[in-house]
């Protein structure tokens, strides 16, 4: 990274800077001419007194001359505008490219940080630096050289003019510059110092916000939300006080500048006036100098502003860069190099020679030595602080030792490029990170080293890559196929699924992913075949229900002509799924169109009455319970704090005149009524006539849907696939009946059985692979995350897999099964498994017992002595 912003700007954009400079200077004569022409028009064309005007040998009369001059003026103004536009766009592009380059460089530096450095630097700070702090740098890049050159040049020209008029006046004009040049940088330095503090303080704010977001559960669990607010307020106070001082100093500088600028005329009038009275200077010259001085203040101001910005930006740049060059950066060659020809096979021997790993004075590894003949299954045992975790990281090539060497087939492991280590060695930590994206993307993540098959070239892509190169980014296409099928042992991309499925089964995740598939959604247009197959499944479901009355009573299918008593009134009315945010099922009554439907179909009055009677029932049932009773949450339609509101409402209203109630009250009653499920709540409020009315209203709603609501609802249509419904709901296409023992379990089983029968298992699994894992895998359970992380490493078929207590979150039966499957899968390859407890050690070829960073015992399990012997004692000392 370049140490200063000027070096950075010059190194990567000197050509562009010269172009900007050239353009700037190029505008100068044009601008000058646009100032000159009006003078010519006034003085010559309008003043008249000449019969024939000659212009480059062409004779013109006065009018013709005027029009030619005006035409020239128009042309020049256009050219000046166009040049200015060009300059601005060009400078803007240069600035953005440089900003992109800087951010890219900073991000690349993060990838080179040594692992322990991440403990010192919080995520919030990194984000703050790369996003916010470098932003003003971009603006500066465009004017880094052009502004001082242009404004300085202007300033010098005008000064020269003044000096030509009278050197004494010239001296007077710049008399205060030395003073300004002395005081302002002094003040500016103070402002800059404060600016530095502000930057650091804002970084701390970012860190604090990040900490609150990630520790939110513990904040609530400890009731420290007031305390956290107090602390944050304290940090804001610090920013405020710094800002306050900055303002004071900044405006002081401004004041001094303005004052000095005003002092100029004072000198001109006193000194120049004196000379005029003495007859040593003409009045005209003095006026000219005064005018010139007025023009002087603009570039001078610009220069001072530039100076302030420059200083600000310089500091920001240096502060940011200082954070991004920690000692122990990874060698760029190791990060980017392709695998060398003579890379080791990882098949003969792993030998540790005097491995020492020191971390801030603690010896994590203290002279570890071993030699293991590969392939081998090795268990590493040891309590917390024994160095087992560090050994795992060192063995996986992720953390270089402070001293000593780890030799793989005789080669120093930590001198091999990442393209060898990251492919030949797998590492599953606890916890391992799950990336944002689908399950499938996470499974294939270990195979994305280089673009394997690029997209067919097209101009768009060419442009994209060219632009990347211009900002010093590597010209890589993220949309190319990066999946290294060969590494995963997959013959061609079509065969990927089979392998994925096998690996999912190995880590016992297949069932979960299948479940995601059942709950997933597909677009019928994108997958017409699957949608058709699922519709067929729906039909055979209906046939099955028709055949078997025992099943029929478990499901109430969606029938456009019938009221579904296991669905809410709202669901019955809309009879579809909201496709976007335009219609909200929970606030249906408030929607103006739904309201119109209720009014037009005559459903409003009966539904209001249902709402009223429901409110009465709720008051009767729940008003005697204490407000914090569990029943309110589970069963009541009305929150405890709103009960008095409804009681007042009921006392006020006349049951016969409900439609004349204020809209807000009507909405309240309707909202209650719409949530009723006839079969579940069994209050007898939704009787036959109302059901018929709802079915009629449903039809009206669909038929008269206004243009602006088209597509807002995916209606239930027995013969069409519903994109807005999950897959299994599409097959079921109805509601599981209330009041039938174990209905849900049996219906779910039935749907699965049908899908299996139709051979749709793989297709559903594919849909499940598209499940989005969320940020950091937040939508997955902990055990699912661990399984997925393990599956990712199994997919890439490493020669050595390091597992750091990697199955801890799984239940014991899963752990056993996965271990056995892994042993079979890794037959002929090596495993280094760090175990938290010794029960599994008999299954391994070799056991290493760690203690205080040293190897306490190593050998086959049966050589380590009886349980309770040396090795076992160490293990239990945890």
């Amino acid at each position: 990274m370049e140490p200063t912003i000027f070096r950075f700007v010059w190194k990567y954009s000197w050509r562009q800077q010269l172009v900007i400079l050239g353009l700037t200077v190029g505008t100068f004569p044009v601008l000058y001419a646009t100032l000159e022409l009006p003078k010519l028009i006034v003085n010559r064309a309008l003043a008249g007194g000449v019969d024939v005007y000659e212009l480059y040998g062409v004779a013109l009369d006065q009018t013709g001359y005027l029009f030619v001059l005006c035409g020239a003026f128009l042309l020049l103004v256009s050219v000046a505008g166009a040049l200015k536009y060009l300059l601005n766009v060009y400078a803007g592009i240069v600035a953005e490219r440089m900003l992109r380059r800087l951010r890219y460089q900073l991000y690349s530096q993060i990838l080179r940080f040594p692992l322990p450095y991440f403990r010192k630097l919080s995520q919030g700070e990194l984000v703050q630096m790369i996003n916010a702090e470098v932003e003003p740098l971009g603006g500066f890049v465009g004017e880094a050289f052009a502004t001082p050159a242009f404004q300085g040049g202007t300033l010098l020209t005008i000064l020269a003019f003044v000096f030509v008029q009278d050197w004494l006046l010239g001296l007077a004009a710049i008399a205060l510059y030395p003073l300004q040049a002395y005081i302002i940088p002094k003040l500016q330095r103070q402002v800059n110092e404060l600016g530095k503090q502000r930057v650091q303080q804002v970084r701390r704010n970012a860190e604090k916000i990040g900490e609150t977001a990630s520790g939110i559960v513990d904040v609530h669990a400890n009731d420290t939300s007031l305390f956290e607010r107090a602390r944050f307020s304290d940090q804001l106070a610090a920013v405020f006080s710094i800002r306050f001082q900055i303002y004071k100093k900044k405006f002081l500088i401004k004041f001094i500048n303005n004052f000095m600028a005003q002092l100029g005329p004072f000198f001109f009038f006193t000194i120049g006036g004196y000379f005029v009275i003495q007859g040593e200077l003409t009045l005209g010259a003095l006026v000219a100098v005064l005018n010139a001085h007025k023009d002087l203040s603009a570039p001078w101001k610009e220069l001072l502003t530039w100076y302030q910005t420059m200083y600000d930006v310089k500091i920001k740049y240096e502060q940011v860069v200082a954070q991004f060059v920690p000692p122990g950066l990874k060698d760029l060659r190791l990060l980017d190099a392709d695998p060398p020809e003579d890379a080791p096979e990882f098949s003969r021997e792993l030998r540790a020679i005097q491995l020492v790993l020191e971390d801030e004075g603690t010896m994590l590894l203290d002279g570890v030595e071993f030699a293991l003949d590969l392939p081998l299954r090795v268990a590493v045992l040891g309590g917390a602080g024994s160095g087992r975790h560090a050994l795992g990281l060192v063995a996986a090539g992720l953390l270089p030792p402070t001293s000593g060497r780890l030799l793989m087939d005789g080669r120093n492991l930590h001198e091999l490029p990442e393209s060898v280590l990251g492919r030949r060695i797998g590492y599953v930590g606890n916890p391992s990170h799950i990336f944002r994206g689908t399950i499938e993307a996470n499974l294939l993540y270990g195979l994305l080293h280089r673009p394997v098959r690029s997209r067919p070239p097209d101009p768009e892509l060419e442009r994209y890559l060219r632009e990347a190169r211009r900002s010093g980014n590597l010209p890589l296409d993220p949309a190319a196929d990066w999946v290294d099928d060969a590494q995963a042992g997959i013959p061609d991309p079509q065969a990927r699924f089979a392998r994925v499925r096998r690996v999912l089964a190995l880590v016992r995740l297949e069932e979960d992913v299948y479940g995601f598939g059942l709950r997933g959604r597909i677009a019928a247009q994108a997958e017409p075949q699957l949608a058709r197959a699922l519709l067929e499944a729906r039909q055979s479901m209906l046939r099955r229900l028709a055949r078997d009355p025992a099943l029929a009573r478990l499901v109430e299918p969606f029938d456009p002509a019938r009221y579904n008593s296991n669905a809410t009134v709202a669901e019955n009315l809309l009879f579809g799924t909201p496709a976007d945010g335009r219609i909200d099922l929970d606030r249906l009554a408030e929607h103006p169109y739904v309201r119109e439907v209720l009014e037009r179909t005559g459903l409003l009055k009966p539904l209001l009455d249902v709402g009223r009677r429901l409110a009465e029932t709720m008051l009767e049932l729940f008003s005697e319970l204490p407000p914090d009773h569990e029943y309110f949450r589970q069963f009541s339609f009305i929150d405890p704090e709103r009960l008095p509101e409804y009681r007042a409402l009921l006392q006020r209203i006349d049951p016969a005149a409900l439609p004349r109630l204020p809209r807000a009250d009507q909405d309240r009653l309707l909202a209650l009524a719409l949530r009723l499920v006839a079969a579940r709540h069994r209050l007898g409020l939704i009787d036959g006539p109302i059901q018929d009315d709802v079915v009629a209203a449903r039809r009206w709603l669909r038929e008269h849907l206004p243009a602006d609501l088209q597509g807002a609802v995916t209606f239930f249509d027995p013969h069409a696939y519903n994109d807005a419904l999950p897959l299994q709901e599409n097959v079921l296409f109805g509601k599981v009946a209330w009041g039938q023992g174990q209905a849900l379990e049996r219906v779910t089983a039935l749907v699965r059985e049908l899908l299996e029968e139709m051979g749709l298992h793989d297709q559903v699994l594919r849909v499940g692979l598209g499940f989005e894992c969320g940020v950091g895998g937040s939508r997955l359970a902990l055990a699912q995350r661990q399984k997925l992380a393990l599956a990712r490493e199994v997919m890439k078929r490493p020669a050595l897999l390091v597992l750091d207590n990697a199955l801890a979150a799984l239940d014991p039966a899963d752990q056993e099964a996965i271990r056995e499957a892994l042993f079979a899968e890794f037959d002929g390859r090596s495993l280094l498994w760090i175990l938290a407890s010794p029960e599994w050690s008999p299954h391994f070829d070799r056991v290493i017992v760690m203690e205080h960073g040293r190897i306490a015992a190593i050998g086959r399990f049966d050589q380590l002595g009886p349980p309770g012997g040396a090795g076992a004692v160490v293990v239990h000392a945890d």
Binding site: Q634, L683, G684
Partner: protein, 157 residues
């Protein structure tokens, strides 16, 4: 079927006869009315128990697992309460309950059941005497079994 009918049914059960109908309505509203066909299971032995059942219609068989297969130990008819043990002492279901005829029950959740018992001491007392009766019966049976076993062992010696 509405909860009014459920309330009527509950009132015919002696245990609830003296309880205010409004309370019974709350009980009915917060419970699920479930239907089981013959052979379907209300609950299975060994499962965690989270609800008790009041039989409104039909007959159910109580089965326990033995080395020789499942053994019917009791039959429950209308108005019987079943499944309360698992709730009261937090143990897995001690028996399987299976519908012998079409059965309609009111399923009271654990919370609902505890609410009921804490609100109405008379129900708690009724429940206690029913449990005591069952304990007494079990003790009698145990005595009988023990003496038979002794006799068998004596005969062998």
């Amino acid at each position: 079927m509405t909860i009014h009918k459920d309330v009527e049914a509950l009132r015919r059960i002696p245990l609830f006869a003296r309880i205010d109908p409004a309370r019974l309505k709350l009980l009915a509203f917060t419970s699920d009315r479930l239907h089981f066909e013959p052979g379907e299971r209300l609950c299975s032995e060994g499962e965690p128990g989270d609800a008790a059942f009041i039989i409104l219609e039909g007959t159910a068989r109580v089965l326990v697992r033995t080395p020789e297969g499942e053994l019917e130990v009791a039959r429950l008819g209308e108005h019987a309460i079943v499944g309360e043990i698992a709730i009261l002492c937090n143990v897995p279901r001690t028996a399987t309950v299976e519908a012998a005829t079409p059965v309609t029950v009111l399923r009271i959740s654990k919370d609902g059941f505890l609410h009921l018992v804490s609100q109405f001491p008379q129900i708690a007392v009724e429940m206690m005497s029913e449990l005591a009766r069952r304990l007494h019966r079990t003790t009698q049976q145990l005595k009988e079994v023990t003496s038979r076993l002794q006799k068998l062992e004596e005969a062998r010696h």
